[in-house]
C-alpha cells in the first residue's frame, strides 16, 4: 500500500492491505489471456480494413470516375434519343385546334361523337344510338356514320 498513515488504525489497514495482496495469475494463465487479447485485436483489424480502404484516395478517385462515366452515358443516350425521335409521334396527343381545322362535321341526330386517343393517335369515333332501346351501338367510324347519313338524305 502506498499510503503513509500515522495512526494505529491506518497502520492496521496498511498491514492488511499489504498482507492481502492478490496473487497474480500464473504465466500460463497470463499467456492464455494475452492470446485471447491479441486474437480479438487481430480480428478487429480486418473488420476495420474495408472501412479504411473505402475512404482511401484511390478508391475515392475510381468511384468518381465511375460516376462520371455513368452520367456521361446517360446524357449521351438521352441526346441520341432526342435526335432520332419522329416529329409526329403516334403517342403524342394531337392539338385540339388541329382537329378542328381538319374535321368539321355536322352530326346527325342519333350519332354521338367521341374523341378517342389510342395507339394509333387521336381518332374521331361515333356511336349510333338505337332508337328503340336508346342504347349506344358502336363505336362506328366517324366517316362511315357521316356517309351513311348523307346516303339517307339522298334517298
Amino acid at each position: 500500500m502506498t499510503t503513509n498513515h500515522s495512526s494505529a488504525d491506518r497502520d492496521a489497514l496498511t498491514r492488511l492491505w499489504d498482507a492481502a495482496r492478490p496473487v497474480e495469475p500464473t504465466d500460463a494463465a497470463w499467456d492464455a489471456l494475452w492470446a485471447r487479447v491479441t486474437d480479438r485485436l487481430d480480428q478487429q483489424q480486418p473488420a476495420e480494413a474495408p472501412t479504411v480502404l473505402a475512404f482511401s484516395p484511390w478508391r475515392r478517385i475510381s468511384g468518381r470516375v465511375l460516376i462520371a462515366a455513368q452520367a456521361a452515358a446517360i446524357l449521351m443516350a438521352a441526346f441520341l434519343a432526342a435526335r432520332h425521335r419522329p416529329v409526329t409521334e403516334s403517342h403524342a396527343p394531337t392539338p385540339l385546334a388541329q382537329i378542328a381545322m381538319v374535321h368539321e362535321w355536322d352530326f346527325p341526330p342519333g350519332i354521338i361523337p367521341m374523341i378517342r386517343q389510342d395507339d394509333k393517335g387521336v381518332r374521331f369515333v361515333a356511336f349510333a344510338q338505337d332508337e328503340r332501346s336508346n342504347a349506344l351501338v358502336g363505336p362506328l367510324d366517324g366517316n362511315f356514320a357521316m356517309y351513311d347519313y348523307m346516303e339517307g338524305l339522298a334517298d
Binding site: A12, A20, V23
Partner: protein, 217 residues
C-alpha cells in the same frame, strides 16, 4: 506469446516509445507494454472485483479496449495511468453487470434452482466465495493470507463503487490525486474527500476491527 523478459531490446525504451511502435503495428512493443503493466492492471481489477476470475476478465477486456484504442492515448498521463484507468472503469462496469447476474442467480437458488455455489458477487455484494489461486507453499501461511484477503474483500465490498475505485486507484495503483481526479472526472477535493470517507468506512468495518482485536489479543 510474450516472453517473461523484454523482447524489445536492452535499451529499455520508455512506455511512450513503445506506444508509438505499437501504434504502427509492432507486436513486440505491444507485448512489452503488456508485460510491464499486466500486474498492476490485475491487482487493481482484483481489488475492485474481489475474485480472480472476474479480475482476469476485466483485465482482458480492458487490454482489448486499450490496445484497440491506442490512437486515443494522448500522452498527457503515462501509459500505465491510462491503462489502469481503462481497466478500473471496465472492472466497475463488469462488477455492476455481474452483481445483477448474481442477484438473479441467488433468486434462482432460493427457489431451489441454479448452481449451489458461484463466484463471489462483484461490485459490492460478495457471496461466501473466497479468492482461489494462492501459490504459497506453506499451507498455514496460505490460509492466513486467504483469510486476510477475504477480510479485505468484504471490507472493500462495503464501500460504494465511487469510494472503492478512488481508494484502490490511490492505494493499489499509486495514482496521484490529480490522476485520480482526471480518471474519475471529478475535482481533486472530491478525490480527497472520497479517500477520507473510504478510510473511515474501512476502519469501521467489523471484519477489520475483529482482525485488529485478534492481533491485539
Amino acid at each position: 506469446m510474450p516472453e517473461a523478459t523484454s523482447t524489445v531490446g536492452a535499451a529499455e525504451p520508455d512506455d511512450e516509445t513503445l506506444v508509438g511502435l505499437a501504434r504502427s503495428g509492432d507486436r513486440p512493443a505491444r507485448d512489452e507494454l503488456f508485460l510491464r503493466h499486466r500486474g498492476i492492471a490485475y491487482r487493481v481489477a482484483y481489488r475492485l472485483l474481489g475474485n480472480p476470475h472476474d479480475a482476469e476478465d476485466a483485465v482482458q477486456d480492458g487490454l482489448i479496449k486499450a490496445f484497440a484504442g491506442l490512437e486515443h492515448f494522448d500522452g498527457r498521463s503515462g501509459f500505465r495511468t491510462w491503462l489502469v484507468r481503462i481497466v478500473s472503469n471496465t472492472a466497475i462496469d463488469l462488477g455492476r453487470k455481474r452483481r445483477r447476474r448474481n442477484v438473479f442467480a441467488m433468486g434462482a437458488r432460493s427457489n431451489g434452482q441454479g448452481p449451489a455455489r458461484g463466484r463471489p458477487a462483484a461490485g459490492g455484494t460478495f457471496e461466501q466465495g473466497r479468492p482461489e489461486p494462492v501459490t504459497t507453499s506453506d499451507p498455514a501461511h496460505r490460509l492466513h493470507r486467504e483469510d486476510l484477503r477475504h477480510t479485505l474483500d468484504l471490507a472493500l465490498a462495503r464501500l460504494s463503487p465511487k469510494l472503492r475505485i478512488t481508494f484502490v486507484l490511490f492505494a493499489e495503483a499509486g495514482l496521484s490525486y490529480k490522476e485520480i481526479a482526471e480518471s474519475q472526472d471529478v475535482p481533486i477535493g472530491t478525490v480527497m474527500s472520497r479517500l477520507h470517507d473510504a478510510r473511515q468506512k474501512l476502519q469501521s468495518c467489523p471484519e477489520i476491527q475483529a482482525l485488529e482485536e485478534d492481533e491485539a489479543g
